[in-house]
């Protein structure tokens, strides 16, 4: 990708440009960039599977390069929160409902299909086999009793934004996630959802009465959290000389726990030397090769383990955020815009699942997962051990993971956009104690 200035490519750029003009800077000056952004797009120093690359196969098809086991599907047709992605949200689409009766059995099967939605991720329906349904959307168990016209239901599923402009529900038809015939079957199925409802066999089936998850116990107990052992193995890395003949220990005396005490509590932060916001993981990708010659590629095991070790040195200390610099304030504002930007084939914003205002999804079940509320402060336990993956995940991999089923291509793990979202999220952790590594599903 040719190096380009960020100028003019940032959401809300007109506001920033206006501010710069007001400050007496000329728009035509090629050196002027939005405050807090590096002069050119950041070159990723992540492991190959974490760079968000898309490759073209010999037959011309495009294939995304992602982590092992993740889909290779290219979602290039849908917008992301990359700062150089100027595409607007696709406008609400509408087509005439295809003629012909839908098949309720096919519709139910589509409703439960995990490759498509599943619709039960947000909506409860009847049936003891429905496990696990969520309650981000309304309970549709008696939708049929409302006797709404078929066309209304079809249009709602095809693109709910006509009726509910601020809806969380994806525009299934407009973005091609569901085919028109699929939607006809689902409409036929929903009409069968009529009362009276049978007695509920298990309280867990209905997300409203389902107990909340209890978690995985003491995250700092090395007999409970393998990530603690992973972090300890980075102590050897700290002391080991890199290719340039130096070790971290040579400049940072006293061992990692003493030398790094309090450091991570101040991250992510704007790092003037690199002219961008960085989390510990990002900083290691540049600082380590410069100081010791050892590249610590983002999402490599060494980078993750050392990040944990550095962060653990601040465990118990309150997270801080210094917004005095204009670069930091500008970066946080951009991160917030990204957090609220509707992206991907599902047209979801982070805020749709992770805030509560306006009937959004936080503290409700999405399928079997309770959606975390960003206001609780979600950054201070990262990197975290993930039991379902038997691996350590940092915040960036978590974001990359989220983007993928939402139907968009992930950005590089060390992308500035991710760092600025993380900066925005860190605001909710301020004053709360660091607690790394976490342990989650």
């Amino acid at each position: 990708m040719a190096a380009r200035a960020w100028r003019g490519l940032v959401p809300g750029a007109s506001i920033i440009v206006a501010a710069l003009l007001a400050a007496g800077c000329a728009q035509g000056d090629t050196k002027m960039v939005a405050p807090g952004l590096p002069p050119s797009p950041w070159i990723s120093r992540a492991v190959p599977e974490a760079r968000g690359d898309v490759k073209t196969l010999p037959d011309g098809k495009r294939e995304a390069v992602r982590y092992r086991g993740w889909t290779k599907q290219d979602f290039g047709g849908f917008r992301t929160y990359a700062y150089d992605d100027p595409r607007p949200e696709p406008p609400p689409g509408k087509i005439a409902m295809p003629a012909g009766a839908g098949d309720p059995k096919k519709g139910r099967s589509l409703f439960l299909n995990r490759n498509l939605g599943p619709c039960t991720g947000c909506h409860l329906i009847q049936g003891n086999d429905v496990w696990p349904a969520g309650n981000v959307g309304p309970d549709l168990s008696t939708y049929g009793n409302r006797n709404l016209p078929d066309e209304y239901t079809f249009n709602l599923i095809y693109d709910p934004r006509h009726v509910f402009p601020n809806t969380l529900m994806p525009p299934w038809g407009t973005t091609g996630a569901l085919k028109p015939d699929d939607i006809v079957h689902i409409v036929a199925f929903l009409k069968t959802q009529k009362g009276p409802l049978p007695p509920e066999p298990n309280p867990e089936r209905n997300p409203v009465t389902r107990p909340k998850p209890v978690g995985f116990g003491d995250n700092l107990d090395p007999t409970n959290n393998p990530a603690v052992l992973r972090a300890e193995s980075a102590e050897a890395l700290w002391a080991r000389k890199g290719p340039a003949g130096k070790a971290c220990a040579d400049c940072h005396a006293g061992g990692p726990r003493a030398a790094m005490k309090g450091v991570a509590a101040r991250y992510p932060q704007y790092v003037a030397g690199y002219r961008r916001v960085m989390a510990i993981e990002d900083f290691l990708t540049v600082h380590s090769p410069e100081a010791t010659g050892l590249p610590l590629l983002a999402e490599g095991a060494d980078n993750l383990d050392l990040t944990m070790l550095v962060k653990m040195a601040s465990n118990g200390m309150p997270v801080t955020l210094d917004l005095a610099r204009p670069e930091t304030a500008a970066a946080l504002a951009r991160g917030k815009l990204s957090f609220y930007k509707r992206v991907g084939q599902r047209a979801h914003a982070c805020a749709d699942c992770h805030t509560t205002a306006g009937a959004k999804g936080a503290d409700k079940f999405l399928g079997g997962r309770l959606l975390a509320n960003v206001e609780a402060g979600l950054t201070r336990h990262f990197p975290t051990w993930r039991t379902s993956q038997a691996d350590v995940w940092d915040m960036r991999k978590r974001m990359q993971w989220c983007m993928t089923p939402l139907g968009m291509n992930m950005l590089a793990a060390d992308a500035v956009e991710y760092a600025e979202i993380e900066l925005y999220l860190t605001a909710f952790d301020v004053g709360k104690p660091m607690n790394v590594p976490g342990i989650r599903h």
Binding site: T223, N224, S233
Partner: protein, 109 residues
């Protein structure tokens, strides 16, 4: 997985003679599961811990026979009666001839 075989044991810090004490132990290990190709299991020497031996004061007090349906990085907890100060040892044996050990010293407060 670089740290295969790292073991951590935890026992309570203050123990009185005769206490029945809970020990917790974790070992880093892939606990490889059966692969399937076209729906049929692939035959190979799967790498997992199949035996755990607990010794206390040099005597074996428990032995666990484990399988691939124990989670990766296996965790075990068990009770034992702390009769004398001495060493508690947990030994893990795996299908590739691996042998990993962790010890904890039983001390009376």
């Amino acid at each position: 997985m670089a740290d295969i075989g790292r073991v951590r044991i935890r026992i309570p810090s203050s123990i009185k003679p005769g206490d029945i004490v809970k020990a917790r132990v974790l070992v880093i290990h892939p606990m490889e599961i059966v692969e399937r190709k076209d729906g049929k299991p692939v035959d190979k020497n799967y790498h997992f811990i199949n035996r755990v031996i607990v010794t206390y004061l040099g005597k074996e007090i428990a032995q666990f026979e484990t399988s691939q349906s124990i989670s990766e990085n296996p965790f075990f907890s068990f009770s034992f009666k702390a009769t004398e100060p001495g060493q508690l040892k947990v030994t893990f044996l795996d299908t590739h001839g691996g042998k990993y050990e962790g010890t904890a010293d039983v001390k009376f407060a």
